[in-house]
Symmetry: C2
Subunit: 207 residues, 2 copies
């Protein structure tokens, strides 16, 4: 039986209930570790589950940041340096990845706090996560403030990409299940996946 | 061994290879059927894998539409009527859901073409998909054009929500695996999921 929830019900909801419900409602996401460096070369690592494909040519990814009314190192570092990395969290270490969202003291890097090793490419200063198998280096392109709640969509261009050769198919498709990339629902529930099928490009069927 | 791909390599990529690679790179997504109605009450149904959580209070979802240089019924209908639905595609019918992306003749509704039944709520005119177990009704709020590639982020406010009572936990979390919601990678590869664990709110660990 369908439970029907309308605006009047939503307005009466307990705050935590509403947070859980609406975070889960957007469905499966990847769990992505965003790595940045500040101007004094302190690293920062933060978990996001709001990465979205914006385009393939040029290659663009977006992700949504909460309002900047409290300190948001990720946002500040991206704006200060112009670069960041997105790294896919894996089944092997999703609990460690989740732990990066704890509020550590101002001078603590989440890399050290949770035990992830950074590494660097030759194109930009942002730290990659060595423990992740899919590492994406991005250059900040533009941002959009959502007027309705002051969240920010950050859009970046992919300038570097590293992943195991074995995971890239002959036609460019990436086998994320084989890599062990984890899926997440809401703020805290993690899933492993099993491939059902790869479908062909849809065309109208003949009668 | 990590394969390193940089901007110079990306520029030389085959178009289809690039499309596959960068669509998969954003990671797992939900497969969402967006239902709309035009001013003459013709229904439209289209599959999107770019739905993203924008906020819980007010409850907001975003999704990314490709440039409107060809006819995009979904976008036009949302702008004309102000309402749309987002419905989670399920393991039971993901091939049917995928089929909505075929280019049907102008006067054909994808509901009829692929055999999904519409139903309606009492708050707005947009059609829900009866075959889906999670049905979300939204009011258009704002749009943002990504300057880098002219895609559009459409943001809507959730005004109605229907899903089976059994799937909503006491704290509001939704068990998407129990509902059979399907996950998708790239444009065409579908996955079922298995829950690993729900983690608690992360706090710094004592030494």
């Amino acid at each position: 039986m369908r439970k029907i929830i309308q605006t009047a019900d939503i307005e009466k909801m307990d705050r935590q209930y509403r947070t859980n419900l609406f975070n889960a409602l957007s469905g499966y996401k990847g769990a992505h570790l965003v790595g940045t460096m500040d101007k004094e070369k302190h690293t920062n690592l933060a978990l996001f589950n709001s990465v979205v494909h914006i385009g393939a040519n040029p290659p663009l990814l977006g992700f949504v940041l909460r309002p900047t009314n409290v300190t948001r190192h990720t946002y500040e570092n991206i704006k200060d340096t112009g670069y960041y990395t997105i790294n896919h969290a894996l089944i092997d270490h999703y609990e460690q990845a989740h732990q990066t969202s704890a509020k550590y003291p101002e001078d603590t890097s989440e890399f050290e706090a949770v035990g992830f090793a950074p590494f660097y490419g030759d194109l930009h200063p942002a730290p990659y996560v060595d423990d992740c198998l899919t590492n994406i280096g991005l250059e900040f392109v533009e941002e959009h403030t959502i007027e309705a709640n002051q969240t920010i969509l950050v859009v970046g261009r992919i300038i570097e990409l590293m992943l195991p050769k074995r995971a890239i198919g002959a036609d460019g498709h990436i086998d994320l299940a084989a890599l062990g990339s984890v899926a997440v629902v809401g703020l805290d529930t993690y899933y492993k996946t099993e491939k059902l099928k790869r479908l062909s490009y849809a065309r109208p069927r003949k009668a």
